[in-house]
Structures are given as C-alpha cells and as structure tokens.
C-alpha cells in the first residue's frame, strides 16, 4: 500500500470513458462548447481593452483658441485648462507649429505647401488620464471661456468602452452559468459509470478498499474528459480567432482595429482552458462519486 497506482487508475478511468462512449462524447462536446463561448467573450474583452489602452496612449483633445484672445488671456486659459479634472497636461501649439506638423504628416501633398497658416487657429493639446471620463472632460473644456471649438474621439472611445464593459459582464455571467452546466453534464456522465460499477464499488468497500482507492478511477475519468474537452476547445478557439482576425483586417470598415495576435494570447488561453477543463472534470467526478462513499 501507499504508492499511487497511476497506471491502474488511468486504465480504469479510460475504460469507464469508453464504456459510455456517447455520453463521454456529449460531455466533452458540452465542455468544448462552454469553453469556446467563455473564451470568445474573454478574447473580445481582451481586444477591446487593448484598443482602449492604445487610444488612451494616443488620445489628445485639441482645444481651439478664440481668435481675439490676447497672449495674456492665453496664459490664463492654459492654467484654467490645467486645473480641469482628468487633464494631465496642456501644451500650447501656435498656428505656425500646427502648420509645420501638418506638412510633416502629409509631405506628399503638394497642394498644402503654399497654404497660409492664417487659416489655422492657435490651439492647446490636452492629454487626459481616464478615457471613461472623456465626455465630462470634453464638456468642461468646451464650456471654458476663450475656447472656440474642440476635436476629440469621444464617440470612438465611448464605443470601445461599451464593448469592453458588455463583454466583461457577459463574460462573468456566462462563465458562471456555463461552468455549472458543464460540471453538471460531466457529473452525470460519471454518475452513469458509477452506477454501472455500483456492485464493484460495494465489493471494494466490503473488502476494505479505502475511499481514495475507490474514487481515483472516477477522478481520472473526469480529469481525462475535462482535459480532452479543453484541448479540443483550445484548437477550435485558435482557428476561430485566426478566422475572425483575418476577417477584421480585410474588412474596410474594421481595418483600423488592431487585433491582438494569437501568439501573444495562446499561453494564458491554454492555461485557462486547461485549468477550467480539469476543474470541471474533477469537480464533476467528485460530486458523482460522493453518494457511493457514505457508510
């Protein structure tokens, strides 16, 4: 006694699995479906988050200054804007500097070469901290005396924030529900094999097998079901992800979106799927075997 009879337990677990081929197949299928749904929503949330982080990095609000402001008023305005909550920096850009920048960004456009800076306005470039608060910040800047207009991506940011928040909430709810569903299905599959083996279990108990010894084959059965489910789910998720990112990058309306490459995500995805699958499988088997081990 004492040593863990790994080969025996795995063999028994496998033969349990094959003795109910169809139910095992169904249990694996459900686990795959659950993991895929969880995974898809999580990956959407991850991408929305990445996009938001990008926007946060690049995002500047341009606040245009009224034509009739004096240098002194501009100085005061800079201070006022700096004090607006959520604004982290205020940089003054003169119309000449704006023109230069413009020409740098579009060097090939001969047409702009002779443009008079006078058609541009002096402006402030504002950096903000939290994109979620961008609407309030924009509103406050717009209402500041001396600001004649504003240019911000608040709609874009708002869109991504909504996507991310919805994905996160759906994600958490789905994970909870699907986790319970898969646990239930796996538990029922294993309950079938424990039912098939109730005589063997009764005999083992009668001759003095420990609960651990009786339990292990079923734990391995659950483990194998979960592991198989998560492996299949991983590869399907990978294929699905590649297909969707290809679709996004070739779609005219969506090509601005930078999809995070799967290479950066496969490790956490594999780890999460593996852990979730094994947890579902082992949890399901423990709940299935529990009633046979009383008395």
């Amino acid at each position: 006694m004492g040593k863990h009879n790994f080969g025996y337990f795995v063999h028994e677990g496998l033969s349990n699995m094959f003795s109910h081929g169809f139910m095992s197949f169904a249990a694996i299928g459900i686990t795959v479906a659950c993991l895929l749904i969880m995974g898809t929503f999580s990956l959407v949330a991850v991408n929305a988050n990445a996009l938001l982080a990008d926007l946060e990095q690049e995002n500047e609000i341009l606040a245009f200054i009224e034509e009739d402001c004096t240098d002194q008023q501009i100085k005061a305005l800079e201070k006022t804007l700096g004090a607006v909550p959520n604004v982290t920096s205020v940089t003054f850009i003169s119309r000449e500097e704006a023109m230069e920048k413009f020409l740098e960004d579009y060097p090939d456009e001969e047409y702009f070469k002779d443009l008079d800076p006078e058609i541009l306005r002096d402006r402030f470039s504002l950096k903000i901290d939290d994109l979620e608060l961008i609407s309030q910040t924009v509103e406050q800047v717009r209402n500041t005396q001396g600001i004649g207009g504003i240019n911000a991506y608040e709609d874009v940011a708002g869109g991504f924030i909504t996507v991310r928040n919805v994905a996160s909430v759906v994600c958490i709810a789905l994970i909870a529900i699907l986790f319970i569903v898969s646990l239930f299905i796996i538990s029922n599959t294993i309950r079938l094999t424990t039912f098939d083996r109730r005589e063997e279990i009764a005999i083992m108990r009668m001759v003095g097998a420990t609960n651990g010894f009786i339990r292990w084959p079923f734990v391995y059965e659950g483990f194998l079901l979960g592991l198989l489910g998560s492996t299949i789910a991983f590869f399907l998720q990978w294929m699905l992800y590649e297909a969707v990112s290809k679709g996004v990058s070739t779609n005219d309306a969506l090509q601005l979106i930078d999809v995070v490459p799967f290479q950066q995500l496969w490790k956490p995805v594999a780890l999460t799927f593996g852990c979730a699958g094994i947890l579902i499988g082992v949890g399901g088997s423990l709940s299935a075997i529990r009633k046979y081990l009383q008395v």
Partner: protein
C-alpha cells in the same frame, strides 16, 4: 478486560434501531473466540443479518459496544473502517460476483482493492482456488458455473485477502441440500486451517450435523447459546 482480549468478536449490551424505528437488536451480548466456528440461527426477521451488518460496520449500534478483531465499531473513524474490514471475509446468499470478470479476475480485483500487486495475486489465487476445489475454473465467467461453484468462488474471494474471520450470511440459501452440505464441509475445513467462522443459516439439519456452537436469536435477543443443536421453534426462510 483480559477476557475480552481473547475474543475476536464481542458484542456488549448491543441495541440497534433502524432509522424507520424498527428495533432489530434489543440487547445482545456475546463473545466469539479466535478459531471458533459459530452458527447464528433464528427465525426470519429476528435480527441475524443486522448482527452481521454490525460486525462489518455497515450499521452502528445505537446502544452498547461492538468489537471486531481489535477494532471497536462504535466511534470508529472513517479511516479505520477499511482497515477493520480487511480483517473480515464476507460471504452472501446471492454470491455477489462480478459477472464481467473471470473467476481469477474476481479474486484479483479484491486483492488489488487492498493494495496487492499482480505478482502477489499470481501467487495467492491458485492456492485459494485449489482450496475450494476450483483450480480448473480460473478462467470461467460466473454465469458459466453452477450455483455451488459460484458460492465457492465467493468463499475463495472471502479468503483471498487472508482474513482473521469469515462471516457468511446464509451462504447455502440458494443451494440444494447436497451442495449445501459440501459447502458447509468446505467452511469447516477452512475453519480448521485457523480462520474464525460465523455462519448464519436456516438449515436445522446442517446445524445439527456439525455439532458446533449454535447461537439462537429471536426478536433481537439471544435465546440460546450452546454447543451442538439448533434449539427453537418454527423456522422459516
């Protein structure tokens, strides 16, 4: 206390009430010594199977104390029950063999269940099968055997882990008289090799024939405990 050391089985003022309120055992004290052969007899519903269940730890006494091979089944810990059961071999009226396994695998299965290696099984099983006279049936399946042969497989299975005590609940209940006699002869032979034997039976003729200690139970009490004869009135299966 010194006395109880020498008993392998001891019941002291034991009462047992099932959850539905049935009082199956109503104050039994008895002691069985190492190497004894004991018949437990009595009418149907008198509490014999309940006493067997008290010995195997399937049920706990509501009152009193049960000791089996050094384990006290009152307050026994969850972990100790398997160890206690390893000192017992149990035989039932309905054999309870695994139909999908051969005779050999039925025995190997219970050896493995308590941690024996395949090598130990290969050494032990032929010996036990020879003892019960089934050395040529090792690779048969239970449903290829007669009732008497199946019950001998069950005896072999009870023996294979080398228990101190064998407990049999109506082992001959499903057998014709001739097979019953053969089987009882076999149990006596095993007892003579040193295993304590507790046998529940209805069969008066058999009991009278062997001249062993007979404990008669009625309505959850011991009404007679003497050597040799089945005392008591009407007996029905």
């Amino acid at each position: 206390m010194v006395e109880s050391e020498s008993a392998v089985i001891e019941l002291k003022d034991v009462e047992m009430t099932y959850e539905n309120g049935t009082k199956a055992v109503r104050g039994i004290s008895l002691r069985i010594r190492p190497g004894e052969f004991v018949f437990l007899v009595g009418p149907s519903g008198s509490g014999k199977s309940t006493i067997i269940k008290l010995l195997t730890g399937e049920v706990e006494p509501s009152v009193g104390r049960v000791r089996v091979n050094g384990f006290s089944t009152r307050n026994i810990s969850e972990r100790q029950i398997p160890l206690m059961r390893r000192t017992l071999g149990v035989i039932f009226q309905d054999f309870r063999l695994i139909d999908k396994k051969t005779v050999y695998d039925n025995l190997a299965f219970v050896m493995r269940a308590v941690g024996a290696s395949a090598r130990e099984s290969r050494q032990r099983i032929p010996y036990v099968l020879e003892l019960v006279g089934l050395e040529d049936k090792a690779h048969s399946y239970p449903n290829e055997l007669s009732g008497g042969e199946q019950q001998r497989v069950a005896i072999a299975r009870a023996l294979v882990n080398n228990p101190d005590t064998i407990i049999a609940d109506e082992p001959t209940g499903n057998l014709d008289p001739e097979r019953s006699l053969e089987l009882m002869d076999l149990l006596v032979k095993i007892n003579e090799l040193g295993t304590t034997m507790v046998v529940v039976t209805h069969e008066k003729d058999l009991v009278d024939r062997f001249g062993k200690r007979v404990i008669t139970i009625d309505s959850g009490r011991v009404i007679n405990d003497s050597v040799g004869r089945y005392v008591g009135g009407h007996i029905h299966g």
